[in-house]
Amino acid sequence: MSKIGLIIQREYTTRVRKKSFLVMTILGPLLFAGIIFAPMLIANHVSKARRVVVVDETKSFTGIIPATKSTSYDYGYTPYPISQVRKLFSDSSDVSVLYIPSNIIESSKAILYSKTDPDVTVISDIEYSLDNIIERSKMKANKLDSNTIDQVKTNVDVINNVNNKVTNSIYNLALGYASSILIYMFIFMYSVQVMRGVMEEKINRIVEVIISSVKPFQLMMGKVIGVCLVGLTQFLIWVVISGILISVGTGMIEQQQIKPSNARMEQTLKQGVPQQQKVNITGSNISKNEAMNKGVSIIENLENTNWLLVIGCFIFYFLGGYLLYSSLFAAIGSAVDQETETQQFMLPVTAPLILSIIIMQNIIRDPQSALAVWFSIIPFTSPIAMMARIPFGVAIWQVLLSMVLLLTTIFGAVWLAGRIYRVGLLMYGKKITYKELGKWLFYK
C-alpha cells in the first residue's frame, strides 16, 4: 500500500473504532430527529384545555362558542352577574371567566378573568371564535344569509410556475436550507477533528518520526482524506437511521393529530354549532385540505427537481467546502501547542462560514439577489450559499464560476496549509503570530 494509503487507513480505522464515533453515530440521528420533531411535538402538544365559564350579557353567544384544543366550555354559560361569577372562580387556577359585555359589538372588547396566565393560544382562539360569530351576525344584520356567505368565501391557490415547471418555494426553501446546514455541520465537525488530530500528533511528539518516513504534505492530506471518509461513513449511517426515525415519527404524529380533531368534531356537533361555523372555526378541515394540496405539490416538486444537479452540486460543495476548511484547520493545528491557542486563528477562518449561515435567511428569501449571488460565488462562502440557492434554479455560468473559483481556492489553501504545516509541526513553545506564519511560507 502506498504511504498515503497507510495514513488514510490508520486515520479511518482508529477513528471508526473509537467509542465516541459509535456514540455520535447513534446519537446523531436522534438529535436530528429531535430537532425536527421537538417543535412539531410542542406545537401539537395538547396541554390541558383551559376551562372557560362564559358570562354572556348579550345572550347571542350562548352555546355557540366552539371548543378548541386550548379551550373548553364544558362548564357552560351562566346567567349570573360577572362579579358573582368571578368571586366563585377566584381560586381556581384552571378555570377562566370570559366576560362578554352587552356592548361587545360596538366596543369589540371582551375580558378573560384568570387566576393564572393562560396559554397564548387560549386568548387567540377565543378572539378568533368571537370574531367569527360577530362577523356572521353582522352579515346577517345586513341581510346576507349563511349560504351566500359560504358562496362568497374564496380561497385562491397561486401556482408557482418557473420555467414551465410548477414549483413550491417552501419545498425549495427546505431543500436548500437542509443541504446548506448539512454542509455547514460537516465542514465544522470534521475540520475540527482534523485540527485535533494534527495537534495530537504534534503534542505526542510522534510527528517527527512519521515525517522522517513520509512528506509532511502526504501526512496532512492522508489525515484530511481519512477524516473525510470517517465523516462520509457517519453521514451515510445517519441518513439511513434518520430516514427510518423520521418516517416512523411522522407516522406517529399524524395518528395523534387525527384523534383529537375527531373528538373535537363530535363535541362541536353535540353542542349544536351550525355546520358552516365549524368549517370556518375548527380549522381541522382546512389544514387537512392544505396538507393535501401540499402533498400533491411536493410530489410534483420531487419530479420537477433537477436531482442530478442538486445531488451533483451537493457532493461537490460538500467535499469542496470540507477540503478548503479542513486544510486550513490542519495548518492551525500544526501551528499551536495547546487547544487554547487555536482560538485566535480559528476565528478568522470560521468567520466566513458563520457569516454564510447568518445570511442564509436572506439568500433563501431572495435567491437571485446580489447578496445571494455574491456569496454563492465567493469561495469561502459558496459551499453553503450556493447550495441554499441551487433548488431555486441558478444560472449555469454562476454555478460554473463558483465551482472554478472554489477549486482554485482549494489548491491555494492546500498549498498554503502545507507550507505552514511542515514548519509548524516542529515548532514548540513559541508564541505564534500571523507575521511568523507568513515567514514560514518561505522557509525551504
Partner: protein
C-alpha cells in the same frame, strides 16, 4: 572506506538566526559518528536535514554517490530526541504502522516485530494501548521501530537521554551489534562517556559551525598535552631532584606508599628522557600517557 553520508557546506537560516553555517561532515560507512555540541548549537537542525524533514538553504548531501532524496528514507532509521507514540493506539498495531511507513511489507514487518518484541521482553504488551506502557517500555518500542527495517544508516538524537540505565545498556549493546553487522550510526549526544566508548568519529558543532572534526583517536592526539602519569615507590624529594626541573610536575597523589605523579614533558624531551632521569632515583610501578577526555576536549573547544 566509502562515506555513506557526505554533507557539504550546509547553510540553514531561520528568520531570526542561522542554525547551520557552512557545516560539512563525512560519515564513513560502518562507523559510529558522534555529533557533539552544546544545546542550540545546530545538531538537531543538521539531523533533520539529513532526515529530509527540512531542507537546507545552501549546500548538498550525498547518500553514497547519490544526491539524497526521498527514495533513501527507507534506508534511514531515525529516533528523534523528542519521541512519542500515539497514546490511544495499540502497541503492536502502531509498531506495524510505523514499520509499513518505512516500506516494509505487512507480513515481513509482523515477523520482525515479533522477534524484536520477544527479544526486548515486551511481547505481552502487543495488544495493550501505548498509554498503559511504562516509559521504559515505550522507549523500547521506539527503538524497535527505528531499527526494524534494518536501515543502512541509523540516526539517533540524544538516544540516552530519558532512558533508564537498564535500557541505556540494552541500547548500547544493540548499537554495537548493529555496527558489527555493518550499519552506520550517527548519534548526537551530551553523554561524553558514551562518545568515548562508542564513537569512531565526531564533529563538534558550536554556534552553528563545525569547530572540530575527526576520529576520536586522532582528536585526542591533537589535544593531548604530553602529560604522563608515573607511579613509583620511594622518596618524593629524590624523585623531584631526579627530574631536575626539566619536566614539570602537575599533581602528586600518594596512596599506600605509592606516589602517582602527572608530569608534563616539554617538546624538546621524549618520554624516554623522563624515564631515564627517574629510574635511578625510584622504583617505577607504572608509566602511561594521559590523554584528554572527550569532555575536556569538548569544554576546551567550546570555550575556544
Amino acid at each position: 572506506m566509502a562515506n555513506i553520508i557526505t554533507v557539504s557546506h550546509i547553510v540553514k537560516r531561520y528568520a531570526q538566526h542561522t542554525a547551520l553555517n557552512d557545516v560539512s561532515i563525512n560519515v564513513p560507512e560502518g562507523t559510529i559518528y558522534g555529533l557533539l555540541g552544546p544545546n542550540g548549537a545546530g545538531k538537531t537542525s543538521l539531523i533533520r536535514i539529513i532526515n529530509q524533514i527540512t531542507a537546507p538553504d545552501e549546500g548538498e548531501i550525498m547518500f553514497y554517490n547519490e544526491k539524497l532524496s526521498s527514495q533513501h528514507t527507507s534506508k534511514i532509521g531515525y529516533l528523534p530526541e523528542e519521541r512519542g507514540l500515539y497514546k490511544k493506539m495499540k502497541v503492536g498495531e502502531q509498531a506495524l504502522y510505523l514499520a509499513q511507513l518505512k516500506g516494509l511489507e505487512k507480513k515481513q514487518a509482523l515477523d520482525k516485530l515479533r522477534l524484536w518484541f520477544k527479544k526486548f521482553e515486551i511481547i505481552d504488551w502487543w495488544d495493550k494501548k501505548v498509554e498503559e506502557l511504562s516509559k521504559g517500555m515505550a522507549q523500547k518500542v521506539q527503538f524497535i521501530v527505528t531499527v526494524l527495517h534494518e536501515p543502512a544508516l541509523l540516526i539517533l538524537d540524544e538516544p540516552f537521554s530519558g532512558f533508564d540505565p537498564i535500557n541505556v545498556e540494552l541500547i548500547r549493546k544493540e548499537l554495537l551489534r548493529l555496527k558489527s553487522e555493518g550499519a552506520t550510526i550517527i548519534l548526537s549526544t551530551h553523554n561524553m562517556a558514551s562518545v568515548e566508548e562508542l564513537c569512531d568519529n565526531i564533529t563538534l558543532i558550536n554556534h552553528s559551525k563545525s569547530v572540530l572534526e575527526g576520529s576520536v583517536h586522532e582528536i585526542k592526539q591533537r589535544y593531548k598535552e604530553h602529560i604522563w602519569e608515573v607511579k613509583f615507590a620511594g622518596r618524593e624529594d629524590a624523585f623531584t631532584n631526579g627530574i631536575n626541573n626539566r619536566f614539570f610536575i602537575d599533581t602528586i597523589e600518594t596512596e599506600h606508599n605509592i606516589h602517582r605523579v602527572h608530569i608534563k614533558i616539554p617538546n624538546e624531551f621524549s618520554p624516554n628522557d623522563l624515564l631515564k632521569s627517574i629510574i635511578p632515583v625510584c622504583e617505577v610501578h607504572g608509566f602511561s600517557e594521559i590523554l584528554p577526555s572527550m569532555s575536556e576536549i569538548f569544554i576546551a573547544a567550546v570555550k575556544g
